[in-house]
Amino acid sequence: MSAAALQPEPHRSSLAARVLHTPLTELLCGHVAPAFDALQMVAAAGLPPTLTELTCGVIRRTRLWRREKLEVARELLAHFQDGLAAGATADDLAASFGDPAQAAKLIRRAKRRNRPVLWKALRLTRRTIGALVLFMLIVYAVQAIRIFTQRPNIARNFAAEWNAAPLAVPESQRAWPVYREAALALGKWPVSRANMTLRPGGADWPALVKFVDENARSVELFRQAAAMPKLAWVLNTQLQDEDARLINRGYTSPPASAPAQPAVQVPAFVMFLMPPLPVLRDGTRLLTIDAYRAAETNDPGRADADILAILQMADHARETRVLIGDLVAAALSSRTCDLLGTLLHDHPQLFSPEQLVAIAHRLAAVGNGSLRVRFDSERAMFEDILQRFYTDDGHGDGLPRPELLCIASVVDGQSRDNSPFGGAFAKLLFPAASTVMAGRRDLYAAFRDCIDRSEAVADLPLWECPPQDTGDETVIAMRASPLTRLHYWPLSILMPAFGNAGRIAEYATQTRDATLTALALELYHRQHGDYPSSLDALTPQWLPKVPPDRYDGRPIKYRLVDGQPLLYSVGVDRKDDGGRLPDVSSLGPDAPNRAAQANRLARDWQPPPDPSRPPAKPLPDGDWILWPPVE
């Protein structure tokens, strides 16, 4: 490098360079004095070119702050000037200086040690962040390689297992084609299903009766379908031919677009469509109205056929072996009990004793005598998700696959943007997100723990239900924060709180047992001319045994009021109030269906009071009336 090259560069004399090298205090006073220009200072010092070149070279290489360069320049200048004054030559001084590059490096390092603590803290922060980013990038890269190079292993075809039974049913015994024909033949309901009151006397009743009359063919087809032994619905992810027409009739949503995944020839359990359940619900609505019409026109045969058909529909719903099917079956059983209870009360002589006995036997036989909900489908669905959307290390563990993000859209038809990662960058972000997500084994363990607890609680009668469903609590904990939601994704969105499922089955069981008791009382009354003083008198001729009150485990409560029987449960307060409904005056005098609301309050489960702590909310003080019907 020549000495000329190290002279102050031309641009240094520009205004910008001068401003750049002027101390801030000078600038604030309006002066432009480049006091910080170390090279300018060295050049102006008048040293021999060798030393000027050496000094400028060292100062440039230090890459220090301007003020620091200035300090170093002053010191080196003074040093060389001292040396020259002591008689040394420029070449001697340059030779004894040492390696300029090494000098610049050491000076830089030493000067930086003298910098303020704040600067050091910022540097440490910068370095820490840099190290963290680097670490995360490495983790990301490793995770991405692991995720994108491994494949899921779809070892079990749950669809085939599930469909083995319906596919074995001969076509002539399959009820589904007839149900489908009945649904497709049905016109548009005149009243919203959600607000429909399926009892005579309501404002919509004339329109409903007219609708049933206009849809006599559907009514007949529903009866025919119910008379067939098996529903034989074959689970699938797509609807073909006639089934596809149900989409336009509102019985099912369109099939979800399948997320990209290997081995799509095996249908995913989570994507199965279930149009039979809304069809069955519509059929029971139709037949319930028809049964009331039959009673009004004193046609016991038609009413009897309708009731038996609805009960068969409940069994057809349970045949699907999915949780929601069991819940529909419980609802259909309860609807039949409501219908039967009202007919017994309003038309006590409608049915012959033989018909009452046949109805009672059929009602008791729904679900082979048990309305409890089953969780097999939930287990199959989740295991199927694991095998599709997780890699398989051959030992029960694996990593989540990016297609897992589409689970939400598959399950509820929502946009993929509803995934916790957003839509567009989902795949890009997935390796990073997957470091927080539970692995296959851990997620399955969490699922098993959760569903085992919920199933254990769902199998208990209300009188043995613990104050808290720990399965539900686990689900709530999974949804507590975005981090836990992500950790347990997709369990945190797929796992419903099951606690209520078991209770719905319990309510249906209590309602069924009370209806069977009411039927037995009617049969007793017809034989003896009055009602028994105790339910024990009904056994074993009309009842195998007195059913339990689901809230206290003791026999269902029975009283004669004005010579008429009253069946009730102690209700949620677990206290016998003599068959009195809870007070619902707080609802206001104009509240509709006050008695029905009061009865529902007494029915709906709440944890038993804990003597050790004051109740958060007082339990409804009253009983759950089971028969006669509460209007």
């Binding site: 300090e71 170093v72 002053r74 010191e75 080196l76 003074a78 040093h79 000037q81 001292d82 040396g83 004054a85 002591a86 004894s96 200086f97 040492g98 390696d99 300029p100 090494q102 000098a103 050491l106 000076i107 390092r109 030493a110 000067k111 040690r113 003298n114």
Partner: protein, 119 residues
């Protein structure tokens, strides 16, 4: 005789501290004094001395003042701080221990009285 770099790295700072023990000195003066008083053994160039001075300053063992010398030149004078004195005492103790160890191994001839007196 040229001292190994690693040895110099240990000996250099304590030598500088020792020189500054009695009075303040500027850079060129230090280089000259080191070379002269150690018969050239501890001679070091600017490229070694100034980074060493900045390091000692960063550690708080020395402090500097810029002053105009009688010759009219701006110079930076270095002097020992209280912490520097403590450090010098510790370093001297350690060097003495090394010398004694070397003597006991027969690497250095004894006695060490001269060194002790010097410290």
């Amino acid at each position: 005789m040229r001292v190994e770099r690693e040895l110099m790295r240990g000996a250099g700072p304590v030598a500088v501290l020792k020189l500054l023990e009695r009075r303040e000195m500027y850079g060129y003066e230090l280089i000259e004094a080191l070379s002269k008083r150690s018969d050239g053994v501890l001679a070091m160039g600017q490229s070694t001395l100034y980074p060493m001075l900045y390091n000692l300053e960063a550690k708080g063992f020395i402090e500097s003042t810029e002053r105009t010398a009688p010759s009219g030149r701006e110079r930076k004078y270095y002097r020992l701080t209280r912490s520097g004195r403590t450090q010098l005492a510790e370093q001297t103790g350690q060097w003495l221990a090394i010398v004694r160890a070397m003597q006991s191994l027969g690497i250095l001839p004894g006695p060490t009285a001269g060194w002790e007196a010097a410290s």
